[in-house]
Subunit: 438 residues, 2 copies
């Protein structure tokens, strides 16, 4: 008591917990980077007269969004190749471009472009998988965002590492280097069952146990993965990962389009998290992860944008809307994945997948002050009959005006405070010019 | 020659025709409300030194978008009820609210809210179906947009008309009243096969023949329509409409989710247009119109947002992106409905459905100057490797900076020039307060 806090004063608070709650005319008090209290605005004025006040007008305040799967530097490959199947897209376009262009400089500048886009869309924390993860970690930390940085493990030579052995060596260095960096967690990110062999999976498991870091991996993205796995290993990809002891509450399985009942039972039994990337899955023609069935069974499902090369944006709100629409459209049940559940996918479920549900993902006293504010005073979100529906089904991500991470305001009235937007735009333009190949 | 025109000078022109064309550093010359010429910018400077010049920086210039199905005044019902099936949504929520609130004032103010949203999203022409169509027509015309105003014909008493007979009477008045209004076309809009009886359909056909106006109708939106039609009329809805002579190049069939091969053949044979509203169809759990199969067969498919009560926005670009994603995701073919085809759906195909393909829908000399400009200099659309993909897969509708209809600039650097945005926001807020029922 007695310390000077900050009172955020929006018109609406959507705290996500308690469930299905809208608070009107409430203040959210920030103190020392955390949420100190949530109380009626008039009471806050009396109780904390010396606090700084941030008047958020007719805005809605929400927990910061968690982008649970992305490849940030691929922002520089946005729109580089589209309307192609996963295999051709990867092997004929993306991998050759990466081989030619990916460098620490590409990764730093691509990450900055991604960070500014994510902040402008309300994202406060992201789960990353890309080469030169040490550069991504540094860049995210400098900009003030929170991140889980996955060190890629892949049996393909890349500009970052020659193969699985070097990936693992560098992964270990990454764990050590960022162990004390508060906003950065490190994870292991084996690319996919079809690009990591048996010895590689065993080594990932061993290193994860030794260092205590989480694992995230593309699994069951395309139908051919299952055939390939059965032919080569005599079992499906999920069963193979389970054989290596990888599934569990420390494992984030990304995509998960092609699931049968036994797979779902295995996810429930092991407490494995699923990261749903609906737009990438649709765009590459892979299909749709059965989210309503997973939630019904009790699986934790979070949401990711995937990289901008396959989406083609890092707009978690747009992703959430697509998740709701396809869940209803594919199941034929318009009540499937309602707007409240969608808010969970974007926030607390992402935090849970990262093992951080006690630290962020909702607006509750004691949690880190990771927040975003939406300006609902655009014609596109008027009138505000039901604020949660207006956010999920109508708002544009650019209606995010302000973002705080650990109480620090990283976006203020639409402008980034830690990232140089004109410099980032100039850099993107320069990469475009450089990458124009005849 | 000798008249003063206006040279629009964007970085990119996507004229839609010729197909798959990107022009760089070109000028589009406007004269007397029409597109006079498209030529290299340096040549234009020499040839038309006295013209007004509009420097559009790093923008992309496209044909204005055609929203081929909407219920504009329902903007005031945005987010009023969600996550419900079509039948419950209509009968338990939307129809009662309409019965209570819909009036000329509601329609005028709801239309203004819709118009400002559509303009801000690049829409220059829309195909409308709602009560008090005379008010919608006046409001659209005052604001300077182009529209096809459908007069609703429905066997349910509404605040506008007591039933089918009065609907038809008022439809005839509407045709007469707007016959000489340049930007307004009138159409007949029988609501759906399940809300217009045999005599009603016959009367619609007769009035359409007599007056020469087009017909647009919700058809095959929900699966139960087919059962209902077979039970009551001994044939499917499409076959029933064909029996009345309604199908043809003057007929716009909206939704069209549940089609078999015979239905598709009938559409081809008659030259009937299909209006695809993917987000509404998904959200209400109805499914997905088989657009790739329709295009393959040679059917003209245009795109509509439906009303904001079921979408929940009037963002044709967002609708286009959803159309591309679900076409790929449902078919399993990532090459289905590529970004170029999507641009056709939003522009020339909409014009064609309205019988106006020689007047607008592309940037070609002689056509009306209905245009929109996108500011691509946002981080979300950088770098611009392939401009058409950046527009279709990455741009937000709010990147539309400028809109011209018939050469008149209705949106200028993001601000509407004919609509009072603060007044529209205040009106939406007032409706929200008024409609709050315990």
């Amino acid at each position: 008591m007695g310390s000077i806090g900050t009172l955020l004063l929006p018109r609406f608070v959507l705290p996500v917990r308690p469930e299905r709650t809208v608070l009107r005319e409430h203040a959210v008090r920030l103190l020392d980077g955390r949420i100190d209290a949530i109380l009626p605005a008039d009471e806050a004025a009396v109780r904390y007269p010396d606090d700084d006040r941030v008047d958020l007008g007719r805005h809605a305040l929400l927990p910061g969004f968690v982008n649970a799967h992305t490849h940030s530097p691929m922002s520089l490959l946005r729109g580089y190749a589209d309307d192609l199947a996963l295999d051709a897209w990867l092997r004929e376009h993306i991998w050759p471009a990466e081989q030619r262009w990916v460098s620490p400089e590409f990764v730093r500048e691509g990450t900055q472009l991604a960070l500014v886009e994510m902040l402008r869309g309300g994202v406060t924390c992201f789960n990353e998988m890309y080469f030169f993860p040490e550069v991504i970690a540094e860049t995210a930390d400098e900009a003030g965002l929170r991140a889980v940085i996955g060190a890629p493990v892949i049996d393909v030579p890349t500009p970052w590492a020659s193969g699985i052995a070097e990936c693992l060596e560098r992964s270990r260095e990454l764990v050590d280097r960022f162990a004390a960096t508060e906003r950065i967690d490190v994870a292991l990110a084996p690319h996919a069952p079809y690009t990591v062999d048996e010895a590689g999976l065993a080594a990932v498991k061993a290193l994860s146990e030794e260092t205590g870091v989480r694992v995230n991996m593309h699994v069951l993205e395309a139908a051919w993965e299952i055939r390939h796995s059965r032919e080569q290993f005599g079992k499906g990809p999920l069963q193979r990962l389970h054989g290596h002891g990888l599934l569990g509450p420390e494992f984030m399985a990304v995509h998960m389009v092609h699931l049968d009942e036994a797979d779902i039972a295995l996810l429930v039994e092991t407490g494995t998290h699923v990261i749903h990337c609906p737009e990438s899955n649709l765009k590459l023609g892979n299909g749709v992860c059965p989210v309503p069935a997973l939630l019904e069974a009790g699986v934790n499902v979070a949401l990711g944008t995937d990289g901008a090369a396959s989406n083609n944006d890092l707009d978690l709100l747009g992703e959430a809307r697509t998740a709701a629409l396809v869940a209803k459209g594919f199941s034929g049940d318009p009540e499937a994945l309602d707007a409240w559940k969608v808010l969970d996918l974007m926030t607390i479920n992402g935090a849970r997948a990262m093992g951080r549900e006690s630290d962020f993902g909702t607006i509750e006293p004691g949690k880190l002050a990771d927040l975003c504010a939406f300006d609902l005073d655009w014609p596109e979100t008027q009138p505000v009959h039901r604020v949660h529906a207006q956010v999920v089904y109508s708002a544009a991500s650019r209606q995010v005006s302000d973002v705080w991470v650990g109480g620090r305001r990283l976006l203020e009235a639409g402008a980034p405070t830690t990232l140089d937007l004109p410099g980032i735009l100039a850099s993107a333009e320069a990469w475009n010019a450089r990458m124009k190949v005849a």
